[in-house]
Amino acid sequence: MSIRERLSGNEAVAVAMRQINPDVFAMFPITPSTEIPQYFAQYVADGRVDTEFICVESEHSALSACIGAEAAGCRAVTATSSAGLSYMNEVLYVAGSLRLPVVLAVANRALTGPININHDYSDSMAERDSGFIQLYAENNQEVYDNYLMAHRIAEHPSVRLPLMVCLDGFITSHAIENIELEEDDTVKAFAGQYHPENYLLKKKNPLAVGPYGISAYYMEARVAQAEAMKNARRVITDVAEDFERTFGRKYGLIEEYRMEDAEIAIVLMGSSAGTAKAAVDGLRAEGVKAGVIKVRVFRPFPGPELEKALKNCRAAAVLDKSEGFSACGGPLFAETAGALFNTSCGLKMIDIVYGLGGRDFTVSAAKSVFERLRQIVKTGETGPVYSHMGERTNAL
């Protein structure tokens, strides 16, 4: 039986962590994820979890402590944002290549500069090649649900990869909304226990963790890691199916909203997807065949799912909430375009970089994107493939 509550995204993450009761939480605070360890510290103080809660001196150390704990066979978690994630960069790759399923909550926040505390995806997009699975959420409910699924995905024997549960900084992390929480016992049963096959302190099979990989071995390790990321596609789907059977809420690698007969579509991530859905409802009422595709899983990238969802569309706009500075478009656009390249899809596609550093994304902004797509369909002219939206042109 679900519990009707109202919580912020950060508190929803902390509640999920409490219910799962990980062995280790290594923490170093940074806005806007600070409330996650703050709430969790209260659970520790109140004796509601028996997690080893370690206050370390930096984010690099927080993830390093998690890596040590995971290598020893423990379930380890942490949380961070922005520069904190960047400071973890080196050890993110260590967690990935050592195949240690650390679960990292990321309240996404812009990277400097100018220095800024608000939302965009520049922090986690900069770590897209680190070997972490990345799940994104539209609201507090999805963050909570993603977290409940996270350990099972990451720890699956055919995956064994670390995982980021991302939530939009402030927009989701600090917004209080209704949420359906699940009972502690049901969550514990769903998340299960972590029993790794091999770990550092296993007497019968002593193990070296993190040795030097000479050229004769390095590539095999990397290919095995790439295979694990491919396997994660299936595992994420399987865990989502079990989640739906258990809790009744359905998740895929992407979510298609009113896409059945859509001629124009927006592809985007996170909380903006809800705002775009409201725009679609408005346009549908006027007879415009518009739809939204929300990318829930960015790593592994849902290329085949996007191809299928977009194949009957005539024009689509990818909305990137991080710049990337490729001068050809943001990372979501590049990967979506890559996924469609060898297909017969005749879609015209543009990229719009928006919402940087907390610049607000509104229903009318979403409608203006759809209007541009309608013009592309009408005239057959794509116009500029890569552009920005929402910035003042006379600011300087």
Partner: protein, 188 residues
């Protein structure tokens, strides 16, 4: 759906007031959103917080530009912030001030809708013995907007106060009187 924008100064609790309103509406069975707009977090700087209250879950996650109601926790903001920007004519602005709506109208840049004032300082000092503008402001917003029915609101808030102040039950009565008085004394 009812959309509300709060204006206050950092440290005064406009964000907390918006959370309390979300609590009240949640307890009455609604879907709620309460979220702050964060800038540099300086004590005393103007801050904004928002509420959406609806029968269905609201998918929109933008700020609110055309609110139904605006609540102003600190009247000195009227000099520097265009608090009624985008405010619907059918709605209302609720200002914490000892002045009457007629007296404060000149500061509102020609807003044509309903203007309400509430002396949150006087009410707070009378029932709580200190200046906590949130409680009377919350009651005034509930009263003017009708987003929660009065009896339901008072019943839920009593329960909430008993839970929140479990260790100091003596303050529950003062807080409740503060709510009732604010609902009765809001002008406009």
């Amino acid at each position: 759906m009812i959309e509300i924008r709060w204006h206050g100064r950092g440290g005064q609790g406009a964000k907390t007031a918006s959370q309390l309103l979300a609590d009240a509406a949640f307890m009455a069975g609604s879907y709620v959103q309460s979220f702050p707009e964060y800038g540099p977090e300086r004590s005393g700087a103007p801050i904004t917080a928002y509420n959406r209250i609806s029968k269905e879950r609201c998918p929109v996650h933008s700020n609110i530009y055309e609110p139904d109601y605006v609540a102003v926790v600190d009247e000195t903001l009227l000099k520097s912030v265009d608090v009624t920007a985008g405010l619907k004519k059918e709605g209302a602005v609720i200002i914490n001030s000892p002045l009457s709506p007629e007296e404060i109208k000149a500061d509102l840049k020609g807003y044509e809708g309903r203007i309400c004032t509430i002396d949150a300082r006087e009410i707070s000092l009378e029932f709580l013995g200190a200046y906590f503008p949130n409680t009377p402001m919350l009651a005034a917003v509930v009263s003017v907007s009708g987003c929660v029915e009065r009896e339901q609101f008072l019943k839920d808030m009593e329960e909430s106060f008993r839970h929140k102040f479990a260790k100091k039950p003596q303050v529950v009565e003062g807080n409740l009187k503060c709510l009732i008085s604010a609902m009765d004394r809001v002008k406009g």
